[in-house]
Assembly symmetry: C2
Homo-oligomer: 574 residues x 2
């Protein structure tokens, strides 16, 4: 694969590689997907002077840029971790010791990066504060753009040769800019039936409403997508026209934890080609793909090679490919973020998409966020430069190993505390169809092969990616359930009432989980600042569900929390 | 003045001081100023869990936050300038030497700040990366908020006791969020007749159009504002309803360089009370208030005290007060930025406004930019903490002195190259009414007291603040002017043609100035990427005008540029 080539006369850069057929791919007209708002954005007149500024010898007195000598930072430096700071097989160490090995003071674990105010040789020789802290194009630092382009080619292997990248200030703002760029008020966006509430919250105020598509254990269903779009009835939808934009979290789906493989992505993509749908792929958990959960007793440690081309290739191949890889037309806007792989406070990420959308997103950036913060860009670019591409990939592998270990710790605790067995009968969560559903019973309840489903406590699908367990507690097996029904409650209201009771019990015992109803797509979730409970809104199909993040608590706390839950859920059913 | 007090149960903090009458001030209902978009923003359901997360002993598995051990930054440090890095009397030094004194390597000029990953004692003891790089509330780091609040009380002395602050990612995004929060499509915003084009560019795509108000040498005119609003005729305005939002740059106005004193601000404010107008005060140049220009021969160096309460008070008193100081009702949203006082790449600033608007702006942040970049927040907060309030004010005084020197250098060069004299006759730029207008003639053209206006070359008002000279070249005195008129051109088209000819001449001689038509409010400026010239759009009252930034070139280059301009403008008229 050759080097990236520059998109001439444009501030965005193609990451693709020239080959026969480029013209055709680039020739598709995407303009009918742009919102009225986006269409009416002009190039800022001051930006038009930029090319004159770049002429050698030009004394620019056009822009209100402060002289770099007034930046009170002479140099910034950082102690950064080395790429292999985290082991690829963390489970070998004791579950308590792993976390603290970093802080033992081994000098080998950190490396210093330094960013001076001035670097000789221009912006591609090294990051300098004189550039990073000055007004810059919304395309970001040239060295960062270069690194991102190389990374996109290496890891995502985009099918469309005109694919370009553009930095943004995090996926939340990236998605908000996509909505403003693509959608007019009153339009619908296609989403998974359970989805990330903040994504809906960005779209809601501009009058854009979710159109849920059914899921199974691998995510969105291509046939349901086709069914919804083929049968679109504007009148039956209260005047909403047929959607042309999809929002999807295909890996480590939030909240369900589903991950979509290449085959399904191709099926979905084909439906999108058929109905001319733009896919916005929000993929923050892409590098947290842990593979299937294997119970502790059956688990064997696989020693991967630390470095080398083979190890890198094996890692890349182990990841479900991005929609970019199947996107031969250029109808995908991928959102990447450094929030999960470096730190959320980075407020830095990037779009990968066709040049038409990239140019409109760039214009949107110029009149709002401008370039991402220069301090963040400088430090992250220097970190990545210092590590190199191989170092960055080694770091991602270490982070993946950490999340694998965290997922395993939580699952192991449930295995220890319950009889957890695969249940081949259909579950009552359609999003679990086809996945390995484990059903929990109190230990020793029955010695039979086939459990009595009336004594089951909860079910769970061990996630293969991301940060979340999605647990469904079988509140309909609760002893009070029938009484509630007899008292006149609907099934769903009775279930919701019991779910809320358990959620409160967990909070009283100092465990905070997210209730499932946060992730419903049938309305914007209510203000639950005081956890006020409005069954009319909250009981729509989310009965008994909880989203459990295994990303942030210490291993000790996580273990403790899983044990407290185990205790409480057993008590709850008594 | 007492300390700031916290706004209970809200993530924004009052900066005002409790006193009798607070209730009344807080009781004004501002909700009718909110846009439909802003009204429909909900609290993110996940944010509603935040207060549970803060309970001691709570094990939170609710949010998808990465564990802080995964942030690959162990420590960040910076070599920062000391607060008195810049002299308060820079003109004492040679014009070439001043810039380089900083780089001489004097160890005294820098100070190290260090930000560790973990600080014991909580977030108000010091900045820690574990907090700064984690997901955070859109209100920013607590220590930064505290510093900003103290600064606002000390320097702006807001009249409204319920005034609150909220960080943003720079004034461009701050203003864009104000437009979305306050304006519905089709509405108008009141602006100065010459204004900052990027501000219009943010409002234009959502269908918000500028309503220009006449200016004089101090900025917007209160009587014209009242006239426009009192006589508002929806039909005559093509259905546009009476505006309720004003955008203004009252200090170092962009592009005209005008600065508005307290008396005028009170007059404008009273008109705004009468017509229920919200004032958005975009004030990036507030600390670049240099005072009136005094020609070199008459200039005397005033030695200000370096430090101490009196010196600080004198500095604060020397600044035209902010609208906040006259805003007894709470109808001002002030935009502050660190772009001109620290560095543009900071992408950090803050709103100061009433709590109702602050809460809506906070919601807008939560679903888009979230908190500003943690690297930037951490470094800037540590810089300000390290300097302390007195150090920060000393730094601002040094920066002001630098801009004063730059302004003086440019004006001195014009004085040296031309006969530059005050002309008491009315100018043809209304924005200069009441200001000291200097008119330039070629040296030695006439020895008479009264110049012949037909031989004048250009006129200028020396700015008292900001970064810009606004020069009007008298193209109607050009020898070709009459010929162009005779050839059938309108006066304005002839003037515009000659202006463009001079602009191109300057570019050929490696001087890039901004043409005046960029700053017109009678339409969104055309795409001038190729400097294509559309007289129909560009010739509306901007004939002969140039905006000249004296902020970024080196003193040598600035001097050179002023000399080249002097040469070229004389040649141009020959």
């Amino acid at each position: 694969m050759d080097a990236a080539y520059a998109f001439e006369d444009a501030p965005v850069a193609y990451v693709g590689v020239r080959k026969a057929g480029d013209k055709e791919a680039a020739a598709i007209d995407w303009s009918h997907h742009l919102s009225r708002l986006s269409e009416s954005r002009n190039v800022s007149p001051l930006k038009g002077l930029m090319k004159y500024m770049a002429q050698p010898g030009m004394i620019s007195m056009a822009g209100g840029l402060p002289h770099t000598s007034y930046f009170p930072f002479e140099e910034i430096s950082a102690q950064t971790y080395v790429p292999d700071a985290f082991s690829l097989t963390p489970e070998e160490k004791s579950s308590f010791g792993w976390l603290w090995t970093l802080f033992g003071g081994s000098a080998k674990k950190t490396k210093e990066v330094t960013i001076p105010k001035y670097v000789t040789g221009g912006d591609l020789k090294g990051v300098q504060l004189a550039t990073a802290l000055q007004y810059g194009q919304a395309t970001g630092l040239p060295l960062l753009q270069k690194f991102i382009n190389e990374f996109v080619i290496k890891v995502y292997r985009p099918a469309n040769p005109t694919t370009t990248t553009l930095v943004h200030v995090g996926n939340t703002d990236g998605w908000a800019k996509c909505v403003l760029t693509l959608c007019n008020p009153g339009e619908g966006i296609l989403v998974e039936e359970y989805t990330y509430p903040s994504a809906l919250a960005s779209a809601w105020p501009i009058g854009v409403r979710p159109v849920p598509i059914k899921m199974d254990g691998e995510g969105m269903l291509a046939d349901d997508l086709d069914r919804v779009l083929s049968g679109w009835d504007v009148e039956a939808r209260n005047g909403m026209k047929k959607p042309h934009v999809m929002y999807t979290v295909p890996v480590g789906q939030n909240p369900c934890g589903t991950t979509m493989g290449e085959k399904r992505k191709k099926e979905i993509y084909d439906v999108c080609v058929k109905h001319d749908i733009i896919i916005v792929e929000d993929d923050p958990y892409y590098f947290l793909q842990c593979g299937p959960y294997v119970p502790k007793m059956q688990r064997t440690t696989v020693h991967e090679a630390e470095e080398g081309k083979d190890a890198e290739e094996a890692f890349i191949k182990s990841l479900a490919p991005s929609y970019l890889h199947v996107d031969y037309e250029g109808r995908v806007i991928r959102l990447d973020t450094f929030s999960k792989t470096i730190a959320p406070g980075s407020r830095l990420g990037f779009f990968t998409c066709n040049p038409v959308f990239a140019e409109r997103l760039l214009r949107a950036g110029e009149t709002s966020t401008q370039a991402p913060c220069g301090f963040g860009q400088a430090l992250i670019t220097s970190l990545l430069q210092g590590w190199g591409m191989s170092g960055w990939i080694r770091w991602l592998r270490g982070i993946r190993a950490q999340y694998t270990m965290r997922r395993d710790m939580c699952m192991d605790a449930l295995y220890d505390n319950f009889d957890l067995r695969e249940d081949l009968r259909a579950t009552d969560i359609s999003a679990w169809d086809g996945a390995t559903v484990l059903v929990a019973h109190k230990k020793g309840v029955q010695a039979m092969e086939k459990y009595d489903s009336s004594t089951s406590l909860f079910s769970i699908v061990p996630p293969v990616a991301g940060m979340f367990l999605w647990i469904k507690v079988h509140v309909y097996n609760h002893p009070a359930y029938e009484d509630l029904i007899r008292s006149g409650m609907s099934e769903s209201l009775a279930s919701a009432t019991l779910t809320f009771r358990l959620w409160k019990k967990l909070v009283e015992n100092h465990i905070l989980w997210s209730p499932g109803w946060f992730f419903a797509t049938d309305g914007v979730a209510p203000d639950i600042t005081d956890m006020g409970f409005d069954p009319a809104v909250e009981s729509k199909g989310m009965e008994g569900c909880f989203r459990v993040a295994y990303s942030s608590a210490s291993p000790e706390d996580m273990k403790k929390a899983m044990n407290i839950f185990s205790e409480q859920v057993v008590k709850f059913f008594e």
